[in-house]
Structures are given as structure tokens and as C-alpha cells.
């Protein structure tokens, strides 16, 4: 069966249109990324090294907030695995970070993560592991200049941190 020339033209034109739409969207995305990285509001005021420093600080601090958010949102049964992964990620982030001030923020998050790990292991009756994580947490808080880094004080801090993220629950109706 012989196709009509109009049908062939139309099919080819349609294929070209679809392909160029796709190519155009890739080009548009890349241009937007480039344009935004160069024209973020106000960044032109800063000299290039300072802009780079600010960029890296913002990226690292945001990464820490996201880790925190996931740590609190993870369901109870997966929490310990998440905390251990978080500790690993924080250690890696700390090693790659070039900003000493941000390293201290990472230390605090690392300390809190070890504390969470210790408290979970304690609940699971793994005394040995709980002790190990608690000692790591205490060493970190000591290096951060905390005045009271006893087990009790740190547990109180973690409980308070946990309460920050919990929504007040309506009291159960009395029968």
C-alpha cells in the first residue's frame, strides 16, 4: 500500500516537533539552572570567593536541615537504621566540608545522632552498643564546650529535641 505524501510529511513533521520539544525542554532547563546560578538575587554584590563560600555554607546547612527532617519523619521501626546512615553521612559531610564554623554545626548534629542511637539501643536492651554510642556523643558535646555532658543531661536534651518535632496530641476522651 502506498502512503500519500501528505501523510508522510505530517508524520515526519510531528516526529520532528516532538523531538525538538524534548530537546528544547533540556535546553530550557539547563539555561534556567545557569541563569539562576549567575543571577540569584543580590549575589552580584558579593565578590566571587565570598559568593562561593556562601553557596557552600548554604548548601551544607540545608543538607543538615534535610537530614534532621528525615530523622524525625522516619517511622519508629526504621529509625535506628536511619540514624546509623545519618551518622555515616554526617561524618562524610564533615570530612568534605571546608567551613570550620559549619563543621561545628555538623558536630552538634552528629552528637545528637549518636545520642538518638544510644537511646534506641538502650530501649532495645543492647547495653554495650548503647554505652558506645553514648560515649561518642559525650566526646562530641565535650568538644563543643558543653558544660554538662553527663548521660542524664544529654538524655534530657534529646527528649526536648524530640518534643520540638511532636505535634500536641488531643487527649484521649475519658470514658
Amino acid at each position: 500500500m502506498k502512503r500519500s505524501p501528505i501523510g508522510v510529511w505530517f508524520s515526519v513533521a510531528l516526529a520532528i516537533l516532538v523531538l525538538s520539544l524534548w530537546a528544547g525542554s533540556l535546553l530550557g532547563s539547563a539555561s534556567a539552572r545557569y541563569w539562576y546560578s549567575q543571577h540569584q538575587p543580590g549575589t552580584q554584590i558579593l565578590p566571587v570567593p565570598e559568593r562561593k563560600q556562601l553557596e557552600s555554607e548554604l548548601a551544607e546547612l540545608t543538607a543538615l536541615q534535610i537530614l534532621q527532617l528525615f530523622a524525625r519523619a522516619t517511622p519508629e521501626e526504621k529509625k535506628q537504621q536511619y540514624t546509623l546512615d545519618e551518622i555515616k553521612t554526617l561524618e562524610e559531610l564533615k570530612q568534605s566540608s571546608k567551613e570550620p564554623e559549619i563543621k561545628s554545626v555538623m558536630d552538634l548534629e552528629l552528637g545528637l545522632a549518636y545520642l538518638r542511637a544510644a537511646m534506641t539501643e538502650e530501649r532495645n536492651k543492647n547495653e554495650q552498643l548503647a554505652k558506645k554510642y553514648m560515649q561518642s556523643a559525650q566526646a562530641i558535646f565535650k568538644s563543643l564546650g558543653w558544660q554538662d555532658y553527663s548521660e542524664e543531661a544529654l538524655k534530657a536534651v534529646e527528649k526536648r529535641e524530640l518534643a520540638k518535632w511532636e505535634h500536641p496530641r488531643p487527649k484521649a476522651r475519658e470514658k
Binding site: W9, V12, A13, L14, I16, L17, V18, L19, S20, L21, W22, A23, G24, S25, L26, L27, G28, S29, S31, A32, R33, W35, Y36, Q40, P41, G42, T43, I45, L46, E50, L54, E57, L58, A59, L61, T62, L64, Q65, I66, Q68, E101, S104, V105, L108, F141, L144, G145, W146, Q147, D148, V157, R160, A163, K164
Partner: protein, 151 residues
Amino acid sequence: MTPAARIVYLLALVIGLSVGALFAFWYKAELLKHYYDGRRFAASSELDDFSSMQYRHADAEHAKTGLLASARLLEKLETLSPETNQKLDLAGTYTHLAWLEDTANNAQASHDYMAKAQYWYAAGGHPGHSDSEIKALFSKRDKIFEKAGIR
């Protein structure tokens, strides 16, 4: 290929490329705007949490380092895009630094930090407050935050 076919194919190419690029640019730019706005909020909030924790639990030297780091980042962000809340946060940060100096009996340093706190507090829309008024306001705010479990 006839000249008419060439024109049709060329038109399809031009229309496809330009519509795809424009749409993707507009869509991605919106997403990036939200991402960058969110990133600034997340970063200052993370640093604010850190400096509050250090102020509450650490020795004066470490607490001061945390607060100064927070002030430095907030001032940089403020230069880039001014915001009222950011200015008030800066006033709060400098007031806390002044309290640390008060504890260490460094009257001059405390006075210098309070001058900065006054500047940012006025820039945040509250001019004409004395040092003691600003300290009282932030002390009250700290107590409210502590009671609410925010800090």
C-alpha cells in the same frame, strides 16, 4: 524533499525547540526560586538552632563562636535580600552576645553588641528602644520560646 516539506520540517523544529525551551525555562525557574528561598530559610534556621543550643549549654567562648557565626551568615543574607524577620533575628543574636559579655563583666563589648542590636531592631521596624527595653523584650521572647519548647 520538496521545498514545501523543508519549510514544514523547519517550522516544526523551530516551534518545538522554542516552545520546549520557553516552557522548561519558566517551569524550572519557578522551581529554582522556591529551592533557593527554601535553602536560605533552612540554612538560617539550622544555624539559629545551633547557636541557641550552644548558648544554652556551652561555655561562654563556644557560645560566642556560635552566635557570631549565626550573625555573620544572617548579615550576609540580609545584604543579599533584606527581610524584617532576619533583622529581628540579628537583633536577638546581638542581644545574646551582649548578655554573654555582661556575664563576663565586659561592659564595653556588651555596649558595642547592644548598639548593633539597636540598629537591627530599628531596621526591623521598631525604632527608639533603649538597650534595657530590647534586652527585656528578647528575654521575654526566650522564655516564651522555652515554654513552648521551640528552643
